[in-house]
């Protein structure tokens, strides 16, 4: 396994993200209290950084630092800034307006007009996008989805179903919704949908933590979907449906690891300030840095091969556990009043639980890793 060395370009990105992280932390408690009161947060520098780094160059103005530029599309770039921003506050990272998960899918599956429609819609810095796969009662089993796209007339579909635990679900103006056009495994398609469409109803879900993600439930009743809003019509049938969702999940999985590592580092920062000689500090720090290294390696692997998700799964398992352990260790290190004296610690302890449930639980990731081993794609001590 090669270790990613941060070159000058990535060190500059990491430094720029670290500089804006303190501002995110200052906004974190207010966001946690009122996740839908976003106006007071929209001016933070990190939101601008995130938008620039997640918008393709032809639809926006990429982040430039000196002679380097950072456009959307590189997993490694994304993970470098995401760890540092999450060290400020992961809730604030997920509250950033812009393309987010839906953008990753549209960039991979959308034709030129669909990409332009989507990126124009989220370009103003005050618009969020939803990515709706999960259904109530189905969790990780995306192939069991029941939402349906029914052809009503030539060129027109009607969309029916319910989506739950969707980030930006109740505040997104536009996004993608997955649904079936028939019974087979290849008949799942993704549609660009606007929240203003007739038949689209969304409600907020009040979550215990990571409230900046603004999870919602979306109910779709006969929502009209013109055929030109179905993604991937220009791609072969095998590349139209769940294949795209799986690729998005592969891309996002190490991002969840990055958010977890950042949250663990935030807990570590707090203990380092309050009790610099706390027993176990070096071990917690080393574990989190190992998780960061594995997460970046997972990103580099994805940049080489979008289907190479082994290290993404490993990184997510390790980072979610390490972040929880860092939070528990901080509580033990700072004493009974810690969560009263440090409201952000109390918040981060709620936040870290969320990472377990995003983009596949640890058990699902364990199965992914085990499958890679049993299929001979991984050998210990060497390259797969």
């Amino acid at each position: 396994v090669t270790v990613v060395e941060l070159d000058e370009r990535l060190r500059a990105l990491r430094g720029a993200a670290a500089e804006t992280a303190g501002e995110l932390r200052a906004h974190a408690s207010a966001l946690d209290a009122e996740p839908y009161e976003m106006k007071q947060h929209l001016g933070v520098a990190a939101f601008d950084l995130i938008r620039r780094c997640t918008t393709p160059p032809r639809f926006g103005d990429p982040l430039r630092l000196g002679r380097f530029s950072y456009a959307a599309g590189s997993s490694l770039d994304t993970l470098v800034w995401m760890v540092e921003l999450a060290r400020g506050d992961a809730g604030m990272v997920l509250a950033a307006p812009g393309p987010s998960l839906a953008g990753i899918l549209v960039d991979q599956l959308g034709d030129e007009r669909q990409q332009e429609f989507f990126h124009r819609a989220v370009a103003d810095g005050t618009t969020w996008a939803f990515f709706a796969v999960t259904e109530p009662g189905r969790g990780s089993d995306a192939s069991a989805m029941e939402s349906a796209l029914t052809a009503e007339a030539p060129g027109l579909y009607r969309l029916n179903g319910t989506k739950k635990y969707i980030g930006n679900g109740a505040r997104g103006a536009v996004g993608v919704v997955f649904a079936r056009t028939g019974g087979g495994p290849l008949s799942i398609r993704a549609a660009l949908v606007e929240a203003a469409a007739p038949g689209f109803r969304a409600r907020e879900l009040e979550t215990a933590g990571l409230r900046g993600a603004a999870l919602g439930e979306i109910a779709l009743a006969d929502v009209p979907v013109p055929e030109e809003r179905l993604l991937a019509g220009h791609l072969p049938p095998t590349r139209r449906g769940l294949w795209g969702a799986v690729r998005v999940f592969n891309t996002v999985r190490p991002q969840v690891a990055a958010l977890a590592v950042g949250t663990g580092l935030a807990c570590l920062d707090l203990v380092r300030t309050e009790r610099p000689n706390a027993p176990g500090l070096e071990a917690v720090a080393a574990r989190l840095e190992a998780c960061r290294a594995l997460t970046l390696e997972a990103g580099a692997a994805l940049d080489r091969d979008r289907d190479d998700g082994l290290r993404s799964s490993a990184a997510k398992i390790a980072a979610v556990a390490a972040a929880r352990e860092a939070g528990r260790w901080a509580v033990r290190s700072l004493g009974p009043a810690a969560q009263v004296d440090h409201p952000l610690l109390e918040k981060w302890l709620r936040d870290v639980s969320a990472f377990e449930f995003m983009e596949g639980t640890s058990d699902i990731q364990r199965l992914n890793v085990a499958r890679s081993v049993t299929r001979g794609r991984y050998r210990t001590g060497g390259q797969p």
């Binding site: 089993d141 707090l270 009974p336 004296d341 440090h342 639980s353 449930f357 058990d363």
Partner: protein, 136 residues
């Protein structure tokens, strides 16, 4: 004594949510199989039962040293997390019964004395520190 009482309350809450988890996992399927028949899930259930039995036994030892009591409660917190995971994302919504396991952990965190935490900040600041705002 109050730590033992807290242990009793926490194991009671844990047990009732384990029962609720068993009920839920028997009806939910993944790839056609009930989740409760999956080995990872079954193993997690068994681990929690072991912790409940251990905690019940240790609650009967009123003169256990403080360090042992704290370690016992940390294990109950981990067992609570194991049960929480069995409810998936639906247990992350604030009105779900499994949130009582988070409150159970928070109560133990706030209630149990930690005499080993004696150091203060290097500059001797007392009261409410502002370390959460920086510390990079």
């Amino acid at each position: 004594v109050r730590a033992a009482a807290l242990t009793a309350v926490r194991t009671g809450v844990l047990g009732s949510l384990l029962d609720a988890a068993v009920e839920r996992l028997g009806t939910r399927t993944f790839g056609g199989l009930p989740l409760i028949e999956r080995q990872f899930v079954a193993g997690a259930l068994a681990d929690v039962v072991v912790e409940i039995e251990l905690a019940t036994g240790s609650a009967a030892q009123p003169d256990a040293p403080a360090e042992a009591v704290r370690a016992q409660h940390e294990r109950l917190t981990e067992a609570g997390w194991t049960v929480t995971r069995l409810f998936g994302a639906e247990g992350y919504v604030v009105d779900h019964p499994v949130r009582s396991l988070h409150l159970s952990a928070l109560t133990a965190d706030l209630w149990l004395a930690r005499p080993d935490v004696t150091e203060r900040r290097p500059n001797g600041t007392e009261g409410r520190p502002n370390g959460t705002e920086g510390g990079r």
